[in-house]
C-alpha cells in the first residue's frame, strides 16, 4: 500500500536558519501519526511545507503519490488534504454552521450564474452543503451552537469548530496543529475520543502536539524532531524510552539521572 504521505530529505531554510533539516517521514493510510519535539524544533514548519504554505528548500513531499511542490494550498485541499491552525483561524463573523460550510468549498462548484438566478442546481448544492455541515457539527458535538457567531465561541469549542471545518470534506489526510492547546483535561479526553472516531471514518491523521498524555494515548506512531532534524521514530512505547528524546526535552543531565 502506497503511503498517504511520503516525505524525503525535506529541508527548509529561512535565510541562515535551517528550520527543517533533511527529514524523512512516511505515513500510511489510516494511521495516526504524532510529530513531537521541543519548541522551535520545526514541527509547524513541516506542516506548512506539507500543506503548501511554504516551498521546500530541498527534498520532496508526495501526497497520495503526487508531489505537492508548486501547488497552491487550495489545490491540495481539493485533492484531499486539510489542516487546522495552532491559533484557531476561524471566520469570526460567520456562524459556526457557515464556517463548516466553507470547508466544503473545494469540493463544490456553485458558479455566479447559478447563484444569481437561483438555478435548481445551485440551490440543491447549497442544501447539500448545509446538511453535510449540520452532520459534521453533530459529529463533533457543536450542533447546538450552529447559529452562534464563531467569535462568540469559547476557546475549546473554537478548536473543535476548526476540526469540523477540516472534516466536512472527508479528507484523506488531516493535519492538526496542536489541537489540544489550551484545552482542559476533560476537553482533552473528549478530543482523544473524537480523534479515534475520525480515524474510524478512514481519515489519516498527522498531528503536532505537546500534550504527551494525548500523544501517547492516541498515536500509532510518533516522529520526534529536534532542531529541525528527526531524532527518533517509533511506537509510543519505543519513543518514550528513547534516550535521545529524553535528552532533547529534559537536557543532558536528565539522561543520566
Amino acid at each position: 500500500m502506497k503511503p498517504v504521505l511520503e516525505i524525503q530529505g525535506l529541508t527548509k531554510q529561512f535565510g541562515g536558519l535551517v528550520a527543517v533539516d533533511n527529514v524523512d517521514l512516511n505515513i500510511q493510510k489510516g494511521e495516526i501519526r504524532a510529530l513531537i519535539g521541543p519548541n522551535g524544533s520545526g514541527k509547524t514548519t513541516v506542516l506548512n511545507l506539507v500543506s503548501g504554505v511554504y516551498e521546500p528548500t530541498k527534498g520532496s513531499i508526495l501526497f497520495k503519490g503526487q508531489s505537492v511542490f508548486n501547488k497552491r494550498p487550495h489545490l491540495l485541499v481539493r485533492e484531499g488534504m486539510k489542516r487546522t491552525f495552532q491559533s484557531a483561524r476561524l471566520f469570526r463573523e460567520l456562524s459556526v454552521l457557515q464556517n463548516v460550510m466553507v470547508g466544503l468549498h473545494g469540493q463544490t462548484k456553485g458558479g455566479l450564474f447559478g447563484i444569481v438566478f437561483s438555478l435548481p442546481g445551485a440551490k440543491g448544492e447549497e442544501r447539500m452543503i448545509c446538511d453535510k455541515a449540520a452532520e459534521v457539527l453533530e459529529f463533533v458535538g457543536l450542533l447546538g451552537q450552529a447559529n452562534t457567531l464563531a467569535k462568540n465561541l469559547p476557546y475549546g469549542q473554537q478548536r473543535l469548530l476548526e476540526i469540523a471545518r477540516g472534516l466536512i470534506s472527508q479528507p484523506d489526510l488531516l493535519l492538526l496543529d496542536e489541537p489540544a492547546a489550551g484545552m482542559n483535561p476533560s476537553e482533552t479526553f473528549e478530543l482523544v475520543t473524537l480523534l479515534g472516531k475520525i480515524r474510524d471514518r478512514g481519515i489519516t491523521i498527522f498531528l503536532i502536539e505537546h500534550d504527551m498524555n494525548l500523544v501517547m494515548e492516541i498515536s500509532d506512531f510518533i516522529t520526534v524532531l529536534n532542531f529541525g532534524r528527526k531524532i527518533a521514530e517509533g511506537s509510543p512505547g519505543e519513543v518514550q524510552n528513547n534516550e535521545e528524546v529524553i535528552e532533547a526535552y529534559l537536557g543532558k543531565r536528565a539522561r543520566y539521572a
Binding site: 509547524t44 506548512n48 504554505v53 511554504y54 491552525f85
Partner: protein, 294 residues
Amino acid sequence: MFDFTTLAQFLVAGLAMGSVYAFVALSFALLYNAVGILNFCVGEFVMVPGFIVAILLNSLHMPFLQAYLITIGVMLVFGAIFHRTIYHPLRGRPFLSVLVSTIGASLFLKNTALLAFGADPRVTPGIVAQKSVGLFGVFVAPQYLVILATLLVLVVFQYVVFEKTLLGKKMQAAAQDRDMARLLGIPVDKIILITFIYSAVLGGIAGILLAPVFYVTSDMGFRIALKAFASSIVGGLGSIPGAIVGGLFIGVVELFCAAYISATYKDVFAFIILIAVLLLRPQGFFGEKVAEKA
C-alpha cells in the same frame, strides 16, 4: 539642453522637491512603523502648517523665526490631538478602520481649511532673499539650498536621537515589538504619542519649507500625500532611510521626466512609479518582506 548647468539646476531643484517629499514620507513612514497605519491625512499635516505660516508671515507680519516656532508649536499640539482623537480610540482595531478614519480626517481638515481660509492660494516669502545664488557656476534658487540644508540637519538629528539616545532606542523598540517593549517597562503609549507629535512636526517643517516655493491651497494635501506614498513604497514601506531615499528619488525623477518628457503629466510619473514598484518589487529599496507567513 543637456549641458552641465541645466542638468545641475534640474538636479538641485529635484533634490529640493525630493527633500520636501522626504520629510512627508518620513512623517508617513514613522507612523507606519510605529503603529502600522497608513496615514491618509499626511498631506494635511503639510497643508495646515502651510496656511498657518502663511497667515503669520503675510497677514500678521511676524518675524520669520517667531512665525516658524509658533507653527511648529501648533503642529506639536495638532499631533497630540490627532493621536488622541483619530488613532487612540481605534488602536487594536483592524488597520482598515484607522485608514478610513484618516480619510475622514483628511476630508474634514481640507474642507474646514477651505471654509476658514478661502480658495486663494498663498505664498510666503523665503527666509533668505530669493535672488539666485551662484554655486559652482550654477544659479539656483536659494530656498532650494535652505531645503537641502534642513534635510541634512534633520537626518543628522534623527540619526543621533534614534541611535544614540535612550529615547530613540525606546522608540525603535516600541516600533519593532510593542508587547516586548511593554514587558521591558517602556511606556509604549507615551512613545506612540511622541511619534505622532514628531510626525506632525515633520509635516510642519515640510509645510514651512514648501510655502515659499509652492502655492499653499486647501487641496494641496492630496497631491503631497500621494508623493509621500510613492516615496515610502519606493524606499520600502517599513524603512526610515528608505523614506528619505525614496523621497529624493521621486523628486529627482519627477523633475527630469517633467523637463524632458512632458510637463503636463508631471504628477503621473510618481504614480506610475508607485504602481510599477507595487507590481514588480513591493518591498521597494529597503523595505520589509511583503508576503504573509502562516
